[in-house]
């Protein structure tokens, strides 16, 4: 900037631009810090969790006959007993039932290895006795040890035997719970918001309700668990640990959020639309149902899905209503005992066996994927309905 002949020269500009630059750098570094926390977390989880996608299998001879079916640990060589998974051996009976030809044969099959062998192969801390380790090394040399895709993780429920533990029952439990939550909180929440926004008079009573709903959204979630315990389990006598109770409790928790976001979406509809409707001689119901709601719908959708995604990750209230129990089998109805993914992760994190570490991490990754996809659906739905207006 030349001083002479330049009508646009301003002496204070240099300092102002510098201050702006400093502010920009500060904001950028905050962003980088936040992102690096996130990246570190993801890397850690992925690093710990990915190995869980694979399980060690050993190729050994398995004998199928009456004796081994009754006493499965006799189906393999004695020295391999610490190496092959006991739980897998118990599955021999079912295998023969499905495939009767196997009866009275001895086959070379890929058997699930014990969790300590798995840990050894994956390079983690292990508790194998020396002789067992030597056997594994020998098998490895003969290429009879392999890492295969861990379908067990996605097909089984929880188990005290680490190599047999899976996330399926928790996943189903989560889905059932969420369904109950959605079916209860969405209609009630949206209707409440519509009443408060469009029909209620603007008096002290309504204002008090509004303040209280906003406060409810900020209450620690564990208190909702106590509420659920007191009302649903003690008063109504609903089955403990069931997705029904869990869903209802989470519904109570999600309700304020849905009400608040729906009200915001309704407020976002320009008042001119309502005025046009009333000006044509339409009744309030006609205006709200046919003109305001369709416009508010994207906002309602987004708010609800975000509320539900939050509910999916809640653990504390569900612990109080009992969903922390050990649930090996997937629930088949909403009144059976179940657990949810966050609770499952919590349980695994507290197990002594090292093998659970990777399962915990993998569980976290599965939960994260579900949450991210829910949020993506929310974004997609919002975009899809927004273009209409």
């Amino acid at each position: 900037m030349k001083k002479t002949n330049n009508p646009f020269y301003d002496a204070s500009l240099k300092k102002r631009h510098q201050a702006a630059r400093r502010f920009k750098i500060f904001a950028l570094s905050s962003l980088i810090t936040a992102i690096s926390f996130l990246v570190f977390f993801l890397f850690d989880m992925i690093g710990k969790g990915l190995p869980a996608l694979q399980q060690t299998y050993v190729q050994v001879e398995v004998t199928y006959n009456d004796q081994t079916i009754k006493s499965s640990r006799k189906a393999i060589d004695k020295k391999l007993r610490k190496i092959v998974s006991r739980a897998w051996l118990r599955g021999i009976k079912k295998e023969v039932q499905n495939n009767p030809q196997l009866m009275n044969t001895t086959k070379l099959v890929w058997a699930l290895a014990d969790d300590q062998v798995d840990q050894y192969i994956k390079g983690h801390h292990y508790k194998l006795k020396n002789k067992d380790r030597l056997i594994v090394d020998e098998l490895n040399r003969l290429n009879q040890v392999e890492l295969q895709f861990n379908s067990i993780f996605f097909n089984n429920g929880d188990s005290k035997i680490p190599e047999f533990a899976g996330i399926k029952s928790a996943l189903i439990g989560s889905i059932l719970t969420l369904l109950v939550t959605m079916l209860v909180s969405f209609p009630i929440g949206v209707m409440t918001a519509i009443y408060l926004e469009e029909f209620a008079d603007d008096n002290k009573f309504t204002q008090m309700i509004e303040v209280n709903i906003n406060n409810l959204a900020a209450i620690p979630s564990i208190l909702f668990g106590l509420l659920g315990l007191a009302i649903f389990i003690n008063l109504f006598g609903l089955p403990r640990s069931s997705p029904l109770v869990g869903g209802l409790t989470l519904a109570l928790m999600t309700l304020p959020i849905i009400i608040v976001t729906t009200r915001a979406a309704l407020r976002g509809v320009p008042d001119t639309i309502r005025q046009a409707g009333y000006g044509l001689g339409l009744t309030k119901i006609q205006v709200v149902r046919d003109h305001v709601l369709p416009l508010a719908f994207p906002g309602i959708m987004t708010g609800s899905i975000i509320g539900l995604a939050q509910a999916m990750g809640e653990t504390a209230p569900l612990i109080i209503v009992g969903m922390i129990a050990f649930i090996p089998d997937s629930p088949s109805s909403i009144t059976q005992a179940a657990t949810v993914m966050p609770a499952q992760i919590f349980t695994w994190a507290g197990m002594p066996e090292r093998a659970y570490i990777e399962k915990t991490a993998m569980g976290i990754l599965v939960l994260l994927s579900v949450l991210i996809s829910l949020n993506t659906i929310a974004v997609y739905l919002r975009k899809k309905f927004e273009t209409k207006w």
Binding site: I273, A276, G277, Y278, G279, L280, G281, Q286, H291, K388
Partner: protein, 252 residues
């Protein structure tokens, strides 16, 4: 000159503010009456009394009578919804529904039971669009969203929508203040056509618009009706000094 709307001793309070003070005025049938005055003088408030839109505001309290076709619209046995069917309103900001052009016009008549879906409805939509001078421009795009039209077209769509419910009176609250001069001219020409069938009351802060289109003009100031006369008298020989000061730009 027949009276269509007879306003007697109309008073309105917004909370404690006395917004309209003892308004007495006879609005004539099939004529255009313009309400002019500075900002905040109560002309829009008065307009919104004629179709009871002020009932939607809880803080508004109305006293007095507005008699249309022999019946006071503020009587206890008159439903405000039915008033608004006979007295339509066009707003300052064009506000078509976020639906197709066809549905914008068809929705209210169907709800009022004037037509059923199908051929009768198609005819009504066509008739309304022709009356609003919009048919030629949109007859091939009836299923496009109403919001895809230009500002002037949107306002004519709103006018078509209003006349589709077959009102007697059309109220217009500054209908062209958000539009460009060409669109404004089109709508003013439209008003001159529409007055053959409807009684029109228009609020405008643009005096020249009142001069161009209105048969009668009413000048409001601070909630009072100062002068009401034929437009030519108001603009050439106003009787009240306040009127003259406003018209000549001495204030407001």
């Amino acid at each position: 000159m027949k009276t269509k709307i007879n306003v007697e001793d109309l008073n309105l309070w917004y909370g404690s503010k006395h917004a309209l003070q003892n308004i007495n005025i006879k609005l004539n049938k099939n004529k255009i009456t313009a309400l002019i005055g500075p900002s905040g003088c109560g002309k829009s408030t008065f307009l919104r009394c004629i179709n009871r839109m002020n009932d939607l505001i809880t803080a508004a309290k109305v006293e007095g009578k507005i008699v249309i076709d022999g019946k006071n619209i503020y009587d206890k046995d008159v439903d405000e919804v039915s008033v608004r069917k006979r007295v339509g309103m066009v707003f300052q900001q064009p506000n078509p529904f976020p639906k197709s052009i066809y549905e914008n016009i068809a929705y209210a008549p169907i709800k009022h039971g004037l037509v059923n879906k199908g051929k009768a409805c198609d005819k009504l939509v066509e008739k309304s669009l022709i009356s609003a001078g919009l048919w030629d421009e949109v007859k091939d795009i009836l299923h496009n969203p109403g919001t895809s039209l230009s500002g002037g077209q949107q306002q004519r769509l709103c006018i078509a929508r209003t006349i589709a419910v077959e009102p007697d009176v059309i109220l217009m609250d500054e209908p062209t203040s958000a539009l460009d001069p060409i669109s404004t001219e089109k709508i003013e020409a439209l008003m001159l056509e529409l007055k053959k069938k409807y009684t029109i009351v228009i609020v405008t802060h643009n005096m020249q618009q009142a001069a161009r289109v209105a048969d009668y003009t009413a000048f409001f100031h601070m909630g009072d009706l100062i002068e009401y006369d034929e437009t030519e008298t108001i603009f050439v020989n106003p009787k009240e000094k306040k009127t003259e000061d406003y018209i000549t730009g001495r204030f407001g």
